[in-house]
């Protein structure tokens, strides 16, 4: 066990720092367009897709710092997997507020899928522009009556010559307004058994017959959409993988080094924010941070968060050693979403009656962002498939307990 990086890696770090110093100037940083919303603000420079950011990314890819899993032929950095280098790159880019890989479902979900199942033409056409953020993607999986249960998808496509004619209704699609394309699961084989009737189709969002309706959440803002398809015509060559194989195609998961790290990053930000809050506000007649009940709860959460952070180091090490993490990696999502909620709840308890104030209220501590965080912590929990789905996965895949007869039936 040694938390220091070996000289080789420290040299690599210097190299990265040097690269950043040269190619990502204070001027570039200053030129950041204002973030669209709180979440974008939290994610930092990675959301940038402006000229400067793109120019920089191209250089970084050239050097093999970004999209290391994507072949050069498709505009990637093409490097042998090295989680430690990936971690160093992520750290240094974050420190320097430099644009890391574009955040979005295109780079994180579509690209790995195309790499595994796409035709040469599809790869050539989409990957390069996607990883540079020039093509923005949205995901068309969820439907009003098919949440975690994709087998019951109803959006259907019929063949008409060289086209799919698609009708139906998708929900919970983020970025749908700004998205250029959607990767979508469509029921194409009417008579096939539930799971086999689905195809994975790429749909141009400018196609006639598509209506996007913003979906407002309980927080009051609209970060998701509903998308309606009315006889939308899509060339059959936009099918990824074989007809009816969409279920398997959609499962090509992110083989990405970065998948392993950073899950605790948001929770760390939150908890540090809560500590600042507790130091800043009064409670029951004295500074909240001096309240023994608050201190006890803060320390309990700090222990849970430190455990998660150290756990990420452990997972990173496993992957660097090419060891199978197994259940150790399956638990992180459930753990971190629950921890996020516990942190937000403590924030609300420290706010006490200041929690009456809505986000944006000028008089509220931190402009009431904790109230949003509190509601979001719930949304994130749900978005990640409800906790029960997570528990099923952990129990069945991680602990090899019998599968649920109901879910098995499908």
């Amino acid at each position: 066990m040694d938390l220091r990086y070996t000289p080789e890696y420290e040299d690599f770090r210097k190299e990265v720092q040097q690269f950043l110093a040269e190619h990502w100037t204070d001027e570039d940083i200053a030129a950041a367009p204002p973030p669209e919303d709180e979440r974008a603000a939290l994610m930092g420079a990675s959301v940038r897709t402006d000229e400067r950011a793109t120019a920089f990314r191209l250089k970084a890819i050239e050097r093999g710092y970004l999209y290391r899993h994507v072949p050069r032929a498709y505009g990637g950095g093409e490097q042998p997997p090295d989680p430690l280098k990936a971690a160093i790159i992520a750290e240094e880019f974050r420190k320097r507020k430099a644009p890391h890989e574009v955040i979005g479902q295109g780079p994180s979900m579509l690209v790995p899928t195309l790499l595994e199942h796409g035709t040469e033409a599809q790869k050539q056409r989409f990957i390069r522009d996607t990883i540079l953020g020039k093509i923005v993607w949205c995901q068309g999986y969820s439907e009003p009556n098919a949440g975690s249960d994709l087998a019951s998808l109803r959006t259907r496509g019929e063949v008409d010559g060289d086209f799919w004619v698609i009708n139906g209704h998708k929900i919970w699609t983020s970025d749908a307004q700004r998205a250029d394309w959607m990767f979508c699961l469509v029921r194409t084989e009417r008579d096939a058994p539930k799971h086999e009737g689905i195809s994975y189709i790429l749909i141009d969002m400018k196609s006639p017959g598509i209506t996007v309706r913003p979906l407002r959440q309980m927080t009051g803002t609209a970060d998701f959409n509903e998308v309606f398809f009315d006889n939308v015509r899509v060339p059959v060559e936009n099918t990824v993988g074989k007809r009816g194989q969409g279920w398997i195609v959609s499962r090509s998961t992110l083989k990405h080094e970065r998948a392993l790290i950073g899950a605790s990053f948001m929770n760390r930000r939150m908890l540090d924010g809560v500590i600042l809050l507790a130091q800043g506000v009064m409670l029951r007649g004295k500074p909240a941070i001096q309240d023994p009940v608050v201190r006890d709860r803060l320390a309990a959460l700090e222990a849970r968060l430190r455990a998660a952070e150290c756990h990420e180091l452990r997972l990173l090490t496993m992957s660097a050693r090419r060891e199978e993490p197994g259940v150790a990696s399956m638990v992180t999502k459930l753990y971190s979403t629950q921890l996020g909620y516990q942190i937000a709840k403590l924030a609300m308890d420290i706010l006490a009656d200041r929690g009456l104030m809505a986000p944006g209220e000028p008089q509220a501590p931190a402009m009431g962002m904790f109230a949003t965080a509190y509601m979001w912590s719930l949304g994130i929990l749900i978005a990640g498939g409800t906790a029960n789905i997570q528990r099923n996965i952990i129990a069945e895949r991680g602990l090899e307990l019998p599968r649920d007869p109901a879910t098995q039936r499908r």
């Binding site: 959440q217 309980m218 029951r284 309240d291 609300m348 109901a406 499908r410």
Partner: protein
């Protein structure tokens, strides 16, 4: 020995339940919630006609002369309906005036008739609800105070302000239009129950009651909030239960999954006994005075914590739909955020309960 509701009380609850179903479905709730004032005089007038404002006002002052329990049952029904408006502040104003005795009596008929809308200004900045620690001061009939969370102050004809004068803490009456009063709206998480930030600069105010009435008013507030929380959690639980019985996934209703069944079982196991706790506190307010303060504190802490949990679990159990603005659940999720905060947080009241128990 009878620890249950009377036939009249059951009927009264039914009446209110039906009233809100017809007069204030969630579509109406949303309309009022999204209005500037968050107050619908028409709806309020109908509540007045139903006698809600006169429940605890003595008959000789034009009320029904009932008890805090009856007022709390109304609070429960408003909570169940997520009914918007000035009920809570006005109810606490009524308690304060009643506790004030002679100096409060003249107001009561006008409260009962709905002619006067009252509210209370108790809590101060830095989450301070402890009467002894309040900074509001009255000198020779002039009030100086900053009160950040006053329910419907902008609509109120009469604000009863918790403050200190040479006699110590008490309640002071400030009438609409009095000099030196500035009222700013606060954008709140719960838009069905508005609060305003009110500043008093040398405002004419006269003492109507002492510390005893003030703490009785706070106790009543804790009980009414607990009752509201109960009504709200009941509604969330029913929504979750019905959803679990209808929504299908993997070819069966989700209520057939043991995980969901057990989550619902765990919730009802907490909800049922919680009802009895606030019933007891409300009953104690009028009949077991020495038990009231402690039970009011316990009930507020326990019920608002629980409301929070039920609203959250109900939302999670709904999955995505429960997180949408169109779906009604968040109305109660937000009311839960109000109930946990208003009049002081759960830990504060648990600490008070420990002191009151003499531990």
């Amino acid at each position: 020995m009878d620890f249950g509701l009377s036939a009249e009380q059951v009927l009264f609850k039914k009446t209110l339940r039906r009233f809100f179903e017809t007069e204030c479905p969630t579509s109406r709730v949303r309309a009022i919630m999204e209005s500037d004032s968050g107050h619908d005089p028409e709806l309020w007038a109908k509540l007045v006609d139903l006698g809600v404002t006169g429940l605890i006002v003595p008959p000789e002052q034009g009320g029904s002369g009932l008890e805090l329990l009856d007022l709390a049952l109304a609070a429960e029904e408003l909570g169940y309906a997520a009914a918007p408006g000035p009920f809570l502040g006005n109810a606490l104003g009524t308690v304060a005036l009643k506790e004030a005795g002679a100096s409060g009596a003249p107001w009561l008929p006008r409260i009962a008739s709905g002619e006067v809308l009252a509210t209370v200004a108790i809590g101060e900045d830095e989450s301070e609800w402890e009467p002894q620690r309040l900074k509001a001061r009255v000198d020779s009939g002039r009030l100086r105070a900053r009160k950040p969370f006053v329910p419907y102050a902008a609509q109120a004809d009469l604000i009863l302000v918790a403050a200190h004068d040479q006699e110590g803490p008490g309640l002071f009456a400030v009438e609409r239009g009095a000099r030196g009063v500035t009222i700013e709206p606060v954008s709140g998480v719960d838009m069905t129950r508005r609060v305003h930030r009110v500043a008093f600069e040398d405002t004419p105010a006269h003492r109507i009651a002492g510390p005893e009435a003030l703490s009785r008013t706070i106790d009543a507030g804790l009980i009414l909030v607990a009752a509201d929380a109960y009504g709200g959690m009941r509604r969330c639980f029913e929504m979750a239960l019905n959803y679990a019985k209808q929504r299908e996934q993997f070819g069966q209703v989700i209520g057939a999954f043991q995980a969901v069944k057990h989550q619902l079982a765990d919730l009802i196991t907490e909800i049922e006994p919680a009802l009895s706790l606030w019933w007891y506190a409300a009953h104690a307010f009028d009949h077991i005075a020495d038990q009231c303060a402690r039970h009011a504190a316990l009930a507020k802490a326990h019920l608002t914590d629980l409301f929070d949990r039920v609203a959250r679990d109900a939302t999670e159990l709904h999955g995505g739909i429960g997180f949408t603005w169109e779906y009604d659940l968040h109305l109660w999720f937000r009311r839960a955020m109000f109930d946990r905060s208003f009049l002081g947080d759960a830990s504060y009241h648990r600490a008070r309960a420990a002191d009151l128990a003499g531990w």
